[in-house]
């Protein structure tokens, strides 16, 4: 991911030191590879922690598998696969997300879930125009943190059915090689 314009907007951030209460958003930070992401805590239903996903053969590559959750079988999106990172065999951390309408609950498998950070909504930086199409779909701007940029994610766009609709992501790659690496 290349954020060419990472220094832009610093001045704007310095201008309104006094932030309004309503502008504060708490984000749950999560990690995939070396990058950090954030999702609005209001859209996270539960953090399940480390879970082993049951793989689904023939499923699109971005589907990490299924995981039982309160009497339901949740489809979990493999975030690493969405970012085109190679699958790491370690057990991943699963979050349960729910969009506003509560229509479809699904899981998101990431490497690790960090803590909750509070940011000012007005500090959100737009996606850079140089971002490729997939990145534009997945990311919802970024916040400048001391440790680096935290890319905001929109659960609505991570919904498995939406991902399938966009057709931006590889449809069916769960071949023999993919599955066997996972199971050694």
């Amino acid at each position: 991911m290349k954020f060419s314009d990472r220094d832009e907007g610093d001045a704007a951030g310095a201008l309104d030191e006094m932030q309004e209460e309503s502008d504060a958003v708490s984000l749950c930070s999560l990690f995939a590879g070396s990058e950090s992401f954030g999702i609005d805590t209001r859209k996270i239903r539960e953090v399940l922690g480390k879970r082993e996903l049951q793989r689904v053969p023939m499923a699109p590559a971005y589907i990490g598998g299924v995981v039982p959750y309160r009497g339901e079988v949740l489809t979990a999106v493999n975030f690493r696969a969405l970012l085109d990172m190679e699958d790491n065999s370690a057990v991943s951390c699963v979050l349960v997300l729910e969009d506003d309408e509560g229509a479809e609950r699904f899981g998101l498998a990431v490497d690790e879930v960090g803590g909750v950070v509070t940011v000012n909504r007005r500090m959100l930086e737009e996606n850079p125009c140089t971002l490729e199409a997939r990145g534009k779909w997945l990311f919802d701007g970024a916040y400048k943190m001391q440790t680096g940029l935290m890319v905001q994610l929109d659960p609505k766009r991570l919904r498995p059915s939406r991902l399938a609709e966009t057709g931006l992501f590889k449809q069916c790659v769960t071949g023999a090689t993919d599955a066997s690496t996972d199971r050694r």
């Binding site: 053969p57 339901e72 079988v73 489809t75």
Partner: protein, 720 residues
């Protein structure tokens, strides 16, 4: 809406449903006074309650209806087709108001919510002048006196809307349960709580823990059964609305149709009943519009002018089958094929080589309709594919049978319940999968050392010879693109013989786990799209397993329904029976000689290490499953092998059921090698004295051990 009103609506709707059934029956049996009484009561109850609740519009309409029914009951009026139509319009009118009340809380005061035309019509039927002048305002005088045809049409079209609307209403959200069932449920829940308390107080090591676990098991099973029972509804509830539907349809299409039912009492889960309502309605519409011919055509074809649609429901191997059969024209295969080619659903070449059965299945393809003219009722090219999709959504299947000139039968097979199915859990490629027991025919274990030989090939297609029938086999792990795992050397593979949608095939899996009653959980749409899994379930050990869709797996692997093959086998079987042939197991006992035993006396073939064979009093014996088997060694194989001093060598022993004088017991027969299993014929005239008989097996001379041969022949004849 207050409780009183909602209760009134639920009750009235039930009353109207009853009235609808009675009305269609009344047309068949016009002299049945009890039916008139029933209808009268339904309308009377509504009228009485509405007055009390203050629904004036409803009361007025119900009053007119009651008045008319009163005349009918007193014998002042005769039952005519017009009268029935009028009463049906009344029914629709009442229903429409009820729906309005349910939705809005009021009975409506807008201009279109005016019943004066209907009231006038009913009054006209009663043979009186309209009740008041303003009631007939806006209605042409001639129309009220005669039978206002358009009026009926309008009412009919309204009828199509009203039930659909009420379907979403309270009738489907509420369910009447026997208080006894509810009490039983409550008791069981109490029991469940008690068991939980005891379990919490004791621990895993406690002496009574296994007992508690058992109790929990039985309480859960009872509770489940009771809840299911509460959800079960007779199919008759669903059938009830069809007489009316068929009547209206038959009039619109100019057909003469009677409807017959059987198996109304067959229970089906309420949610399933809902799910098949639309497909069934569609099937009945199709039967009337497409299936049954016009009366004059029927007469020409030598059939009674009145067509018949039969609805039949029955249980069959764990599922409920609902059949819609008509005695109409049947489906013309040529027309189906021509249409399919015309609509680019199949290529002409492909169509030419289709079997009749395959061709019939084409009508389930989206965008297919053979109706010559698009009518109001059907023929718009949406239909059968929706029927199939809806039925398959609930784990059912649809098949169609048709004979030209004789009729068409549409068969829907739905599971008893959606929630819980018995399944076999298998492992393949390191993952667990559940196979529904309903599709499982048998299981075959192929040991490692036979695995190479057992799988035969024609080109790239693998086959397994199961009792002389070639069975296509499919490797689950390869089909799903899973990495093949190295199994233990000693471990072979399992072949699950499955049958679905007329396809029969063997599915190769690595291992079998326990059979379990699994709770089916739906998958998200993305995973449903893969098309191979019908759901997922949580297993006893907490892990997830995907439920394999047997039919879809067959289709993915390219397994075709094998109707012709089955027929061929049946033919062969019939032939063998005629020739009075027996199946023999052929083996080599003495070098160069073929010896045989009738197949049905051979229970097992065992490979035993030579060291396990013991001797007592000069006789060779084998300890076999806690039984001492005398070994019969006619070829002196044991001595031969002992001489060779190959300690680790294996002896092939046939375990045979031996019908001796002391009843039935087993013996072991030491053989060099097993050659074949094939049908053969006894040659009676060559019976020799040495305890052996001759037989021709595959046109080769073979000796048969007599005591078995005779015995087998006797039992075989009994069977025949």
């Amino acid at each position: 809406m207050d409780d009183l009103t909602s209760e009134f609506i639920a009750e009235s709707q039930e009353g109207l449903d009853r009235m609808e059934r009675c009305l269609t029956e009344l047309e068949v049996r016009p002299d049945d006074g009890a039916l008139v009484g029933e209808i009268f009561r339904a309308v009377h109850t509504i009228k009485g309650t509405t007055g009390f609740l203050g629904f004036d519009r409803l009361e007025k309409l119900a009053h007119t209806g009651e008045h008319l029914l009163g005349s009918l009951r007193d014998g002042k009026l005769a039952v005519t087709s017009e009268l029935i139509s009028g009463l049906l319009s009344l029914l629709d009118g009442l229903r429409a108001i009820l729906v309005l009340i349910e939705e809005t809380g009021g009975e409506g005061t807008r201009a279109e919510d005016e019943d004066s035309a209907l009231i006038a019509e009913l009054t006209a039927l009663n043979g009186h002048a309209p009740l008041s002048v303003d009631a007939v305002d806006g209605v042409d005088e001639p129309n009220t006196v005669g039978m206002p045809h358009q009026e009926v049409e309008k009412a009919n079209s309204r009828a199509a809307v009203a039930p659909a609307a009420s379907a979403m209403g309270s009738a489907d959200k509420t369910l009447r349960i026997d208080v006894d069932v509810l009490n039983r449920m409550m008791n069981l829940v109490g029991e469940l709580v008690l068991t939980r308390n005891q379990m919490l107080q004791s621990n895993m090591e406690a002496a009574n823990f296994p007992e508690l676990a058992r109790r929990l098991d039985s309480v859960t099973a009872d509770l489940r059964e009771t809840v299911m029972q509460a959800r079960m509804q007779p199919v008759g509830n669903l059938f009830g609305k069809f007489p009316r539907l068929v009547r209206d349809l038959a009039r619109t299409c100019g057909r003469d149709v009677r409807i017959e039912f059987s198996g109304q009492e067959t229970g089906l889960d309420k949610s399933l009943l809902e799910a098949i309502k639309d497909p069934l309605t569609h099937a009945v519409r199709n039967a009337v519009d497409h299936g049954i011919e016009a009366p004059h055509v029927r007469v020409l074809a030598g059939k009674p002018a009145e067509g018949c649609v039969r609805l039949r429901a029955f249980h069959q191997s764990g599922s409920v089958v609902i059949e819609v059969a008509d005695d109409g024209a049947g489906i013309g295969i040529e027309r189906v094929l021509a249409k399919a080619v015309e609509r680019n659903l199949v290529t002409a070449e492909h169509a030419a080589e289709m079997s009749e059965r395959e061709a019939l299945q084409l009508i389930f393809l989206p965008g297919f309709s053979t109706a010559a003219a698009v009518t109001n009722v059907s023929g718009r090219g949406v239909g059968m594919d929706v029927v199939r999709a809806n039925v398959e959504k609930v784990g059912g299947s649809v098949e169609i049978e048709s004979k030209m000139g004789v009729g068409t039968t549409l068969r829907m097979r739905v599971p008893l319940t959606l929630a819980i199915v018995p399944a076999l859990v298998v492992r393949s490629g390191g993952q667990s999968f559940a196979l529904p027991q309903t599709a499982l025919v048998e299981l075959v274990y192929v040991p490692r050392r036979e695995a190479e030989k057992a799988v035969e090939k024609i080109g790239a297609a693998a086959l397994y010879r199961l009792r002389e029938r070639l069975l296509p086999i499919v490797w689950l792990d390869r089909l799903l693109g899973l990495g093949t795992q190295y199994t233990d050397e000693a471990h072979g593979f399992y072949l699950a013989v499955l049958e679905a949608e007329g396809c029969r095939y063997g599915l190769v899996v690595d291992d079998l786990l326990a059979p379990e009653e699994i709770v089916v959980k739906p998958l998200s749409s993305v995973l449903r799209e893969i098309g191979l899994f019908s759901g997922a379930t949580v297993l006893g050990n907490g892990a997830l397993a995907l439920i394999l869709d047997i039919g879809a797996t067959a289709a993915r692997a390219g397994v075709k329904p094998m109707e012709e093959v089955a027929e061929g086998v049946a033919l062969v079987e019939a032939k063998t029976e005629q020739a009075e042939d027996v199946s023999f197991m052929v083996f080599e006992e003495r070098a160069k000689e073929r010896t045989a035993l009738p197949l049905d006396v051979v229970e097992r073939i065992e490979s035993v290490p030579l060291t396990q064979i013991e001797y007592a009093g000069g006789r060779a014996l084998l300890q076999y499953r806690g039984e001492l088997l005398p070994l019969c060694d006619d070829g002196n194989l044991l001595i031969e092998m002992e001489d060779r001093e190959q300690e680790e060598s294996l002896v092939t022993v046939l375990i045979c059921a031996h019908a001796g004088t002391g009843g039935r017991h087993r013996i072991g027969m030491v053989v060099r090698r097993v050659l074949d299993v094939s049908p053969g014929r006894m040659l009676e005239e060559y019976a020799s004295a040495s305890g052996m008989e001759l037989a021709l097996v595959k046109e080769k001379l073979t000796m048969v051990h007599r005591q078995f041969g005779a015995k087998a022949a006797a039992t075989w004849k009994e069977v025949a």
